[in-house]
Amino acid sequence: MGLLSLLRRIRGTQAKELRILLLGLDNAGKTTLLKSLASEDISHITPTQGFNIKTVQSAGFHLNVWDIGGQRKIRPYWKNYFENTDILIYVIDSADRKRLEETGEELTELLEEEKLSGVPVMVFANKQDLVTAAPACDIAEGLNLHQIRDREWHIQACSAQTGEGVKHGIDWLIKACSKKK
């Protein structure tokens, strides 16, 4: 027992903590993504009033993931969670073409925030399992991601529902952080 807890403590000091902020419009799939990262059941999701937080272990990192509700009424509270963010994950419902412009505007505003300056951004083009989903390259173009110069960014096609692409995204995110730290 003593040895085990000692080992755990040594490991604990080595494991880096990362603060990850999960944002996006309502119904983008943030909570489903959070639960699928934590390997939890995703069949009982409800709309997030407020926020959820989970700690996920990955590649020796403790990822503290903050999933904040995306409805318009809650968006003014997003800024309360900016401080000390290591990575911003921005989730997009690729099948919701009507709101692509709205989600683009929200993202642009986030990238202009002083407290988030230089923070790498990972865009998940979610819901790729739906036939109506726009491909990630179209979304990148629609959001003008290629014009981002002041930080690292990456777009990843994924489906939080099936888990496809999620792991790739997390690998990128950890690499981006290792480089930064």
Partner: protein, 302 residues
């Protein structure tokens, strides 16, 4: 690890040797089997039904054991009661109340399982905007909650006035499917005054919250309570007959009003406190359901 082994060993000794021994002794001394003793010792209510349920579960008789299996919802209660009285040598002329007491308990137990299945089916049925019944019911929800305001169009920012997230409510039901929707509708249909009252309080400038979204989160809470068997206390106390889906919706209406009061009592700083307070409220309800006499409803007209 040792303590776990020890407790496993202890529980297997208890259930395979000590408990049957104790039952045998009690049976000799009192002249009654365990099921019969329970019906003599307890009056109608959660305590009695839960004890019967546990006794059936721990029985070594294959016929009795299968009655309680979660997948077995087609139990013929009257027939099963007769069969058990035969197995246990219970003479109806001597123990005249057994048959009615026991069949009441058994029908409650089977009813709870049936309700769980029915609710699961409703929950996994998604809201569909291609379904005309669903669409009509959605408009009905609007009219019940906002009788003086006309909904300008089916896709409208107005939906946020009753606490949906955006212009189209259909994306908000998610994992709660038609269960979440039917409960919102049931509340406004059967407790219209109370529902409007809660809605208007949800517009409070400081302590406001999104009515429909909170409602769907409360459906999720009730679903968890039902699935974990926690609502047995309430339903077994509520009435002798098996619980119906309406009974479950009534619990929802009660909890919605209770949550609303709780929220204002807690004076949250802002809506971001919702997660914490929802969990606190959930714990309080579980605590209340541990009390054997709890019924989740308001006394008549109070």
């Amino acid at each position: 690890m040792w303590s776990e082994l020890w407790s496993n060993l202890w529980s297997s000794i208890f259930f395979s040797i000590l408990r049957p021994m104790l039952k045998w002794i009690l049976r000799r001394v009192t002249g009654k089997c365990e099921l019969l003793r329970i019906t003599y010792e307890e009056n109608h209510g959660s305590q009695r039904t839960k004890r019967i349920e546990k006794s059936l579960k721990l029985s070594h008789q294959p016929f009795i054991k299968q009655l309680i299996l979660p997948e077995n919802v087609d139990v013929e209660v009257t027939e099963a009661t007769k069969e058990i009285m035969k197995i246990k040598d219970i003479v109806p002329e001597v123990h005249s109340r057994f048959s009615s007491s026991f069949s009441c308990c058994l029908s409650q137990v089977v009813g709870y399982k049936k309700l769980q299945n029915e609710v699961e089916l409703m929950r996994t049925t998604p809201y569909s905007s291609d379904n005309i019944h669903h669409e009509n019911k959605l408009l009905q929800l609007w009219n019940l909650l906002m009788p003086d305001t006309k909904l300008e169009s089916r896709i409208s920012r107005q939906w946020t006035d009753i606490g949906f997230q955006g212009e189209d409510p259909k994306t908000d039901f998610r994992g709660m499917g038609m269960l979440g929707f039917n409960q919102l509708l049931y509340f406004s249909e059967n407790y219209t005054k109370e529902a409007r009252n809660v809605l208007s309080q949800s517009h409070h400038p400081q302590y406001g919250y999104s009515y429909a979204i909170v409602g769907i989160n409360l459906t999720s809470m009730i679903y968890t309570l039902l699935k974990g068997g926690k609502l047995r206390t309430h339903f077994y106390n509520l009435k002798q007959a098996p619980a119906t889906i309406q009974d479950l919706h009534d619990v929802y209406c009660y909890l919605f009003q209770e949550f609303n009061k709780f929220w204002f009592r807690e004076k949250p700083k802002d809506i971001m406190e919702f997660g914490r307070l929802r969990d606190k409220f959930h714990k309080q309800i579980i605590e209340r359901l541990r009390e054997p006499r709890t019924i989740l409803q308001y006394n008549n007209k109070d």
